[in-house]
């Protein structure tokens, strides 16, 4: 009887009712081929030119000349320092504010409501936020106009470097506008996995204040789950290009911008130092990650001592409230930034130091409409195509992970974080080399592919938890009723998961809309999107025109978010449990 081995346990035929027989391999191949492979090839094809090897373009063989050229650049060390400083500062401040905010508002903010509140900022592309923020803080910006001349006495814009300041402070604050909401969302999602209320009650009954109880009891439990998001924020912040172009210092710029200048120069020989600078940024990114992990250990050690000392921390509550106020300030900046782009786009004229435009008009919009059409259409179609293809890949992945062990699930999460943990510029030039060799650079397909590298992880991060949280007995019930795996997926799982599916789609769509570098490199200038146009216009053009592009760029993903929030309300209006 022993030889009647159940087929479910036969090696290589791992199975579950959800996939009725065997695990399909295509999702693994699709994610590997579409997401991971281009990163690996891209890194390789950035590394080679960094050492002088770019056959048929700028020379072959190994040479150290690209590095000599990079190190001979006068502001190189300032640029490298700026990248590291702005990245680390934005990450530390964003994390501190997010933690303080969560400690203060604990129990007063549900996940769904928070998600809806954060949606507008999460939906807004980085470039649009940066443009709006520049409109707000510039010497001739909205804030200066609001307090002039009655408070400041300025009747002309003051001579202050509030945008492009040499320390990159404007860039740091703009990064925080995007990263604080992201970290808040990640923390709130992690909180769902911990018995927060019971532990808070226990700690508070021992005499701990609300905020300090959260930090001493809850934070250590959720930190492992927000570690990867924090590292993603760190790498993104120190390698960001579009925001640094708009708000960062100019001479020297951050290392990422410096690398981009070389890589986009008309002279092909400058590709080599550009690739070397990109590799240098990769090294800085890896070093920063390593440093963060060491700091984590130290913080854990100190933290254990601090917690075991038993201080009830009543005195630290004001500090936490300060962090809460900081988050409120960040949100206020976000709201002003988004509003500013809209106001400018509808302004007839907005003379300094008037607090509001002189009058309103649709003239800028109608004048820009002919030029706006193609980028808007490209943005929309890229977003829709990549979101749909990405959803198919991610659903296939999750559907086939069925009953994998927790270790496998953690491994797949790490895999999905790879695109977010490698500085974009460190592999996108190499991806362009790959696309040129395949003869598909500058095509819609190529741009969609590079967008997918980033859309897939965001879809996965957004969908994995709700997907895995769905009670597997629903699928088992359906199977016992005679439903095939395909029917279970279509008629039970997907409808029950409609809300998280639509949210994930909105997240994926806005990730696509926000992509600047991938569009630039893979599109080769032939696939304009609202983002590339907005960034290109940001430095010089009329604020009203820039406002049109930035506003359109924020508005499109926001509409998708709103639809994602409202559609389930309508579809499930008679379903109380959903």
């Amino acid at each position: 009887m022993d030889q009647a081995l159940h087929p479910l346990t036969r090696p290589g035929a791992r199975s579950s009712p959800q996939r009725g027989g065997r695990a399909a391999r295509w999702p693994l191949i699709a994610v590997g081929g579409v997401v991971i492979l281009p990163i690996a090839v891209g890194l390789w094809w950035t590394l080679l030119p960094a050492f002088g090897h770019l056959p048929a373009v700028a020379g072959s063989g190994v040479a150290s000349s690209p590095w000599r050229e990079v190190f001979a650049y006068p502001g190189l060390w300032t640029a490298a320092w700026l990248s590291a400083f702005t990245g680390v500062a934005a990450t530390v401040l964003s994390l501190a504010l997010s933690i303080g905010f969560c400690a203060v508002v604990h129990g007063r903010l549900g996940f769904r409501r928070a998600e809806a509140m954060l949606a507008p900022i999460l939906a807004s592309p980085h470039a649009a936020i940066a443009i709006g923020f520049a409109f707000v803080i510039a010497p001739s910006g909205w804030i200066a106009r609001l307090v002039s001349p009655w408070l400041t006495g300025w009747s002309t814009p003051p001579d202050l470097a509030t945008v492009g300041d040499p320390l990159g402070l404007a860039l740091i604050v703009a990064l925080m506008i995007k990263e604080v909401p992201f970290l808040l969302l990640m923390i709130l999602a992690a909180l769902n996995q911990v018995p927060v209320d019971a532990h808070m009650k226990a700690a508070r009954s021992l005499g701990y204040g609300r905020g300090i109880a959260w930090i001493k009891v809850i934070l250590p439990q959720i930190y492992p789950q927000i570690r990867l998001p924090i590292l993603a924020v760190l790498v993104f912040s120190l390698s960001v290009v579009d925001m640094a172009l708009i708000l960062g210092p100019d001479n020297p710029p951050t290392l990422a911008v410096l690398a981009l200048r070389w890589l986009l120069a008309p002279d092909v020989t400058s590709y080599l130092p550009g690739a070397a600078a990109a590799v240098l940024l990769l090294a800085i990114g890896l070093f920063a990650i390593g440093l963060w992990l060491v700091a984590e250990r130290i913080a854990a050690h100190v933290g254990r001592f601090w917690i075991s000392r038993g201080g009830r921390g009543v005195a630290s509550e004001p500090g936490l409230r300060l962090a809460g106020a900081g988050v409120a300030l960040v949100f206020a900046f976000a709201a002003l930034s988004m509003l500013a782009t809209g106001l400018w786009s509808f302004a007839t004229a907005w003379r300094y130091p008037g607090a509001l435009p002189v009058d309103w008009t649709l003239a800028t919009w109608s004048a820009q409409l002919p030029m706006l059409g193609r980028p808007a259409w490209m943005t929309l179609s890229l977003g829709l195509v990549t979101t749909l293809v990405g959803l198919l890949m991610v659903i296939g992945w999750l559907e086939n992970e069925g009953s994998n062990s927790d270790r496998m699930k953690r491994a797949s999460l790490r895999l999905m974080y790879i695109p977010l943990l490698v500085p974009q510029i460190a592999f996108l030039f190499g991806v362009q080399v790959l696309l040129v060799r395949l003869g598909i650079d500058g095509s819609f397909f190529a741009v969609a592919w590079t967008h997918l590298i980033f859309v897939v992880p965001y879809l996965f991060l957004s969908l994995a938890d709700p997907w895995r949280a769905l009670d597997p007995r629903y699928a088992r019930s359906a199977a016992a009723l005679g439903a095939s795996p395909g029917r279970i997926l279509l008629t039970v799982k997907l409808p029950m998961l409609l809300r998280p599916l639509l949210t994930a789609a909105a997240v994926g769509f806005s990730a696509s809309v926000a992509q600047y570098l991938p569009t630039l490199f893979a599109g080769g200038g032939r696939i304009p999107t609202l983002t590339t146009e907005a960034v290109a216009l940001a430095s010089g053009a009329d604020r009203r025109v820039v406002g049109v592009y930035a506003f359109a760029q924020s508005f499109m993903p926001l509409l998708v978010y709103v639809a994602a929030l409202l559609l389930p309300l309508y579809l499930f209006r008679n379903r109380r449990a959903l």
């Binding site: 009712p17 009953s403 088992r476 019930s477 005679g482 029950m496 008679n574 379903r575 109380r576």
Partner: protein
């Protein structure tokens, strides 16, 4: 709801053994459940009762290692896909699909061979009426009481025309008054269809209500002991232990 189709088939477990890692959950088990009998497997939580049912219904997690065969009549169904086994399962929770109406849930179980929107709706309406749920077709399952949802779930299972019924503590979450009613409801329907039933529970009174043989699963020694069937009034004429 009444079906004249008597399955007349025996659900058999032959040399079934389930373990996870080094731990043996189900020691070698041979069991034949004739049509109409409701056999109970008793055991504390964590003893592997539900795992046994998952194996029989074909939804065992690959983390478990299982050996042995499951047979219907003489036919080995161990390798048959879960959806083709024709084995109905009731879980501890009702698991009504929240996105479908009550009628939509029941129609989900109804075989697709029954065609035509009106005809399918008619069959479901009849089943609901028989169970005292007339007029519930378009209701949101979330608006039903616990007892109503439990009954609707059994109806959903029976509409799929199962050849056997597995009960995974479906009574444990109902309060005492409801429990007796729902138990009677389940065993009467199972007996009327002459289904072999396997119930797992840790509640003695469930086993009494089932009326068939009782096996006890011990978490420590893992021994399965068969208790003799109790001489008591059986539900349904066909309930016969061999």
């Amino acid at each position: 709801m009444r079906s004249n189709r008597k399955s007349q088939m025996e659900l058999g477990l032959k040399g079934v053994r389930i373990s996870v890692g080094d731990r043996e959950l189900i020691p070698p088990l041979d069991l034949a459940i004739p049509a109409g009998e409701a056999v109970t497997v008793m055991g504390p939580s964590g003893s592997g009762k539900s795992t046994l049912l998952a194996f029989i219904s074909g939804t065992l997690d690959p983390a478990f290692a299982a050996v042995g065969r499951i047979c219907f009549g003489g036919q080995d169904i161990t390798a048959v896909r879960p959806e083709n086994r024709g084995i109905g399962v009731l879980f501890q929770d009702d698991l009504m699909f929240p996105h479908l109406s009550v009628g939509g849930n029941l129609a989900f179980g109804l075989p697709s061979q029954i065609r035509g929107k009106a005809r399918r709706r008619g069959v479901v309406e009849d089943a609901l009426a028989d169970a005292g749920l007339a007029g519930f077709f378009d209701r949101d399952p979330a608006t039903l009481s616990g007892g109503q949802r439990a009954r609707a779930t059994l109806l959903r299972t029976l509409l799929a025309n199962p050849r056997a019924l597995l009960l995974d503590e479906p009574f444990s979450k109902l309060d005492v008054a409801l429990r007796g009613d729902f138990r009677r409801f389940v065993f009467e329907h199972a007996a009327a269809r002459d289904l072999p039933v396997l119930l797992v529970t840790h509640d003695e009174s469930d086993a009494d209500a089932a009326g068939g043989r009782v096996l006890t699963l011990s978490a420590t020694s893992g021994i399965v002991q068969a208790r003799r069937p109790r001489p008591k009034v059986r539900l349904g004429a066909a309930a016969q232990a061999n």
